[in-house]
Amino acid sequence: MAEKASESSNSISLNTVDGKIFKVSPTIANQMQTIQSLIKAYDSSRVISLPHVNAFHLSKIIEYLEGKSATTVSAVKEFEAQFMKDLSLKQLKGLLIAVGYLKVNELLELMPKTVAKLIENKSVEFLRKFFGIVNDFTPSEEAKIREEIAWAFDGVDED
């Protein structure tokens, strides 16, 4: 994938945090907003270092950007579904961090949707664990918020 892109003469070199160099075509690079803005600042011969992205995640992002150029809508859908299915939870989390850092707009819709599916209708305790967040509310604060938002839950089971 990445190797194919390197054929192109004006390809862009990206250096991941674990020291792998990827050469990507400008079309692919421009779909990562963070890199797009860096390209303007750098001269093309230099390698762009990505301190927050490792090789696995970058290769996944490139795989996605190349793969989703399928011809039909249904083919894209199928590809996206398979792409998300292949990721473990750990990979999913890591990839979302990389996608957020690189600002890959295409994935910034698909991935949150996938995450939402994983956490919908789960307990607050589950959500905290999922996001690795320590509860910083005191029990009385938490009770107060519950009370505050209670009206919005009122009558949820009706209609």
């Binding site: 910034l108 949150p112 995450v115 959500l127 690795g132 320590v134 009206w151």
Partner: protein, 387 residues
């Protein structure tokens, strides 16, 4: 990356991404996320703060509603804080499922001046909106309206053409309330409006009526059959010379209810004298409030139970401050034809501090039961064994 690093960074994802995740969650699940931590709460609590004159409120609220996107609740703020005059403010909050909360609470001394409200909802003609709302309010919570803000509340509410549920809470000084909605209003809840003396309803589609406060004079002008009625008049009446005839029309609206909350005194004074052979054929759940001070109190409960052949669940709440009517006498039991409770599955006690009392009440109720004895739960959550 090492797992712990991923977990650490994952919790620190930018607001836009977290917001995006939330926007794909179903409504209530989305709001639950505000309980995760202060940061998540902040995501929900971004407030638009505006200043202006009292006349501008309706327009500001309409604009605020127009911006909201149900499918992406974090894209625009869900909360509006509008300051008007010197010390007054309106807080408007949107929740998904077409809900809006308008809260006029002030820290100033409560204005006790009396006022009345006349809501004419779901008019035939379509209101001309200044801004076309893409958020249609179906459920409105109206809190702490006072004399000063009653006009504003009225003008906002009359623009809500799709209202189905209306809840009015803690409106100090509200003395008289008229609600007209012949087509859409299904649910009306009035809580703790302690000065309310008169309630006039022209609401033929009403299915649920929940009231907590002193019994006002109620006039259901158009007939409707309630499925769910909460008549929590534990505070007594708003005026001393009520007669049972005054309650007759209201009684007709609750006779087919499936869920009913009732106080002992209300049955004795307002229902019993005119009920005759009235049977609550459809009643499945009864919540009964009483102070159980008088030994004879249980008679009223037993009498009422004999009118409820389909009852499945019985909740018995003791409230020492519950009003009792000194004038009504207790000579109830003998007069009623015996009806057995064949479907009663549960008796639950709430608020009792003495188990002796619970047992004595349970014994009286059990005598009416035919067939398998119901499960009995005491106030402390344990199960009572009547064997």
């Amino acid at each position: 990356m090492v797992d712990t690093i991923i977990d650490g960074l994952f919790g620190k994802l930018p607001d836009e991404i977290l917001g995006c995740i939330v926007s794909f969650l179903p409504n209530e699940s989305a709001l639950e996320t505000s309980l995760i931590s202060t940061r998540w709460r902040y995501l929900w609590n971004q407030v638009v703060v505006k200043y202006g004159a009292i006349e501008d409120i309706s327009v500001v609220v309409a604009e605020f509603l127009a911006c909201f996107e149900e499918l992406d609740p974090l894209k625009h703020p869900r909360k509006l804080q509008f300051h008007f005059d010197k010390s007054n403010a309106l807080f408007a909050t949107i929740a998904t499922n077409s809900k809006l909360l308008l809260d006029f609470s002030t820290e100033e001394n409560e204005n006790e001046r009396r006022y009345e409200l006349q809501f004419k909802l779901n008019k035939d003609y379509i209101t001309q909106h200044l801004v076309q709302p893409n958020f249609l309010v179906k459920t409105l919570y109206l809190k702490s309206v006072s004399y000063l803000t009653s006009e504003v509340a009225l003008s906002i509410v009359s623009n809500l053409d799709h209202l189905q549920n209306l809840t009015i809470i803690e409106c100090n000084g509200l003395q008289s309330l008229f609600i007209e909605s012949e087509s859409k209003l299904k649910k009306l809840t009035i809580l703790d409006c302690l000065q309310l003396k008169s309630l006039h309803l022209r609401t033929s589609k009403l299915k649920s009526f929940r009231f907590r406060g002193p019994l006002p004079w109620i006039w259901p002008e158009s007939h409707f059959n309630l499925t769910d009625a909460m008549l929590d008049f534990r505070l007594g009446t708003s005026c001393s010379d009520f007669k049972s005839q005054d309650f007759n029309i209201t009684l007709l609206t609750i006779k087919n209810s499936q869920f009913l909350t009732l106080c002992e005194w209300t049955f004795k004074k307002m229902i019993w004298p005119s009920s005759g052979n009235f049977i609550f054929y459809k009643l499945r759940e009864l919540w009964w409030i009483d102070n159980y001070k008088d030994e004879n109190n249980i008679d009223a409960l037993v009498s009422f139970l004999k009118l409820c052949p389909a009852l499945e669940q019985l909740y018995l709440e003791i409230d020492p401050i519950c009003y009792s009517d000194p004038s009504s006498k207790s000579c109830l039991i003998q007069a009623i034809k015996y009806t057995e409770l064949e479907h009663l599955k549960l008796i639950k006690f709430i608020g009792f501090t003495s188990q002796v009392k619970e047992i004595s009440v349970a014994k009286s109720v059990i005598q009416l039961v035919k067939g398998k004895p119901p499960r009995i739960e005491t106030s402390d959550g344990s199960c009572m064994d009547m064997e």
